[in-house]
């Protein structure tokens, strides 16, 4: 099993910035990759691609629905478009277009949302995407990914260009600790077990993966052996990894920076409900919108910290037969 010292969690890039770098690198090797943005390219980091490949970069202005439609048109004749905006605008303003012009005809459109979750901080709830995973997962045929660090983001963006089909990749504004070695392999739909454990499994995605690693360390100090799984792909879910964790550890905690309605937690519950009913606890945003504050203050207030995961793990263990 990987030694826990592997997780020094050194400071790294925001996943949005890693996305921008991955995109610019893709532009060099794949002439079919085109990029669309809706007046946020400095924030989504698509500007780097735009600067390097101006002919293949389309500034759509503040009009996300049209951007998604144009992206779908480009995809339907063989381009590999990446359309980017804040997750909240991409999924909410573009949803009907994603449904009818991307999901229904199953075109090769990639959408990448930045500024996901509440960790954007001061801009407040109108800019915070807390339902994007739920919305994206409700699109038949969509692949939905939520990388935890820069290494995962760069690898999954690259994979997205290689694999046909509509996809959503969720990235964030905050700088994230580096979890993975640069040569870590990623496969869409295949979860990564970061720490093995026997008593409880912590299943996390995005920003909550690092929190779960910290939580596992705290639990270990209490004599509790926690498995940690990075569920970087929300759809299709790695049912085998979930079922194995349910059978082998008998208790699951699912942690996500997302509403508890319709996100990773309920999807994991659906799997174990079918394969191996198991005690579960959930860490997420509970039926509310957040507010303006610093990211740290918000993650504390809305319960998205290692300490919340630890508490959930204890609850799960107390209910475990």
């Amino acid at each position: 099993m990987p030694a826990k010292t592997k997780f020094e969690l050194k400071p790294g890039l925001a996943t949005r910035e890693a996305f921008g770098k991955a995109l610019a690198a893709l532009g060099k090797v794949n002439p079919n990759v085109v990029v669309l943005d809706a007046d946020l390219s400095k924030s989504t980091y698509t500007a780097e691609f735009g600067k390097a490949f101006p002919d293949r970069f389309f500034e759509c202005g503040i009009a996300e629905a049209n951007m998604v439609g144009i992206g779908a048109g480009l995809a339907s004749v063989g381009k590999i478009p990446f359309a980017s905006s804040f997750s909240v605008f991409l999924l909410n303003k573009g949803f009907e277009q994603l449904r009818v012009t991307a999901a229904l005809p199953n075109v090769n459109l990639k959408i990448v949302g930045t500024h996901s979750g509440i960790s954007i901080g001061e801009d407040g709830p109108s800019q915070m995407s807390v339902e994007d995973l739920s919305l994206a997962c409700s699109l038949p045929g969509f692949t939905v990914m939520s990388p935890a660090d820069e290494v995962a983001t760069m690898a999954l963006v690259k994979r997205a260009a290689d694999v046909f089909g509509p996809m959503f990749i969720r990235t964030g504004r905050l700088k994230m600790p580096v979890i993975y070695a640069a040569d870590q392999a990623f496969e869409i739909g295949k979860a990564i077990q970061l720490i093995d454990g026997a008593d409880v499994t912590l299943i996390a995605t995005g920003l909550m993966v690092a929190e779960c690693i910290r939580a596992a360390e705290t639990l270990e100090a209490e004599g509790i052996s926690a498995r940690v799984i990075d569920m970087h792909t929300i759809k299709p879910l790695d049912r085998d990894a979930i079922t194995r964790a349910a059978k082998e550890t008998g208790a699951l905690v699912v942690a996500e920076e997302h509403l508890m309605d319709g996100g990773l937690g309920v999807r994991v519950a659906q799997v174990v409900g079918e394969t191996h009913p198991t005690v579960m606890e959930f860490v997420g945003i509970n039926n509310t919108y957040a507010e303006s504050a610093t990211p740290d203050q918000l993650l504390d207030k809305y319960g998205l910290r290692a300490v919340n995961v630890v508490a959930a793990a204890r609850r799960a263990l107390s209910r475990k037969r």
């Binding site: 202005g61 048109g73 478009p81 012009t101 229904l104």
Partner: protein
């Protein structure tokens, strides 16, 4: 596929396509005859004369594209595509029935020769512009034609796309507004008046042509003018008659979305004989 630029031949084909539309929708017992009949000359002129396409090679890279953004009027598209040889004529009467390739609104999953899945109004112009941008990048002669309803253009996305198309000079896209003046709830002028329509498109930097949408010669001339237009996309505002060709359907909002009865079918076919 037998193409022709002969106006009399195209007009004869239009009449036969109108018969197909009436028969399909009557068999289906539901559908949208009015807007299918208003668009007949537009669709026939494009597929039979203007567009560069090949039913034997439907995904030919440099083909022209056609998008029926007002997807509810798909009976006319299906009839013309079947006439071209893209799909079987003898299945047109399966429209809207379980397992049919002729879905109630165009769906590429069932009929891959379609260029787009449509039906939720307001989305086809964005798709057309995406296809136009791809052709420009590839230095392809491919052009994209998209038919919009005059009711449909009340959707905001149309004007997002119009702004983009004009600003980015997507001159390989031609939009045709089938201006039949009627939408589901009544006359467009009473539901949400769009006048002055030509000025609206013109102010979004589109080249505007207005014509009688049942005048095949005028349509041919307009499509040639659009092809020569550089630096601006073209919109053709085609003034049409909803239900054109069937006296009791013409200008009657009832036939936006009501199928003819078998008795009405007989009267309609007699008029289209």
């Amino acid at each position: 596929m037998q193409t022709t630029s002969n106006v009399a031949e195209l007009a004869a084909l239009c009449k036969s396509m109108r018969r197909e539309v009436i028969e399909m929708i009557t068999d289906a017992k539901s559908g949208h005859p009015g807007g299918s009949l208003s668009a007949v000359e537009i669709v026939v002129t494009l597929f039979m004369d203007v567009m560069r396409h090949d039913p034997a090679n439907p995904k030919w890279k440099d083909r022209d594209h056609f998008i029926l953004s007002k997807g509810h009027c798909c009976p006319i598209l299906y009839a013309v595509m079947a006439e071209c040889g893209y799909c079987p004529k003898d299945q047109l009467n399966t429209l809207r029935k379980l397992g049919s390739i002729y879905q109630g609104h165009p769906d590429v999953r069932f009929l891959p020769a379609l260029e787009a899945t449509t039906g939720s109004l307001g989305q086809g112009l964005s798709l057309a512009i995406g296809m136009g941008l791809a052709a420009r990048l590839d230095k392809s002669p491919s052009r994209t034609f998209v038919v919009l309803g005059d009711g449909e253009i009340q959707e905001g996305q149309i004007w997002e796309a119009a702004m983009f198309g004009g600003f980015h000079k997507v001159d390989n896209v031609v939009a045709i507004v089938d201006s039949n003046r009627i939408q589901l709830d009544g006359f467009v002028k009473d539901i949400m008046d769009e006048s002055p329509l030509a000025e609206k498109w013109s102010s979004f930097n589109w080249h505007v042509i207005e014509l009688d949408g049942h005048d095949i010669g005028a349509l041919q001339k307009a499509f040639a003018e659009a092809a020569a237009m550089k630096g601006q996309p073209t919109v053709i505002i085609a003034h049409t008659v909803k239900g054109k060709g069937v006296s009791f359907m013409e200008n009657n909002p009832k036939y936006h979305g009501t199928a003819p009865t078998v008795e009405e079918e007989a009267r309609a076919l007699a008029e289209l004989a």
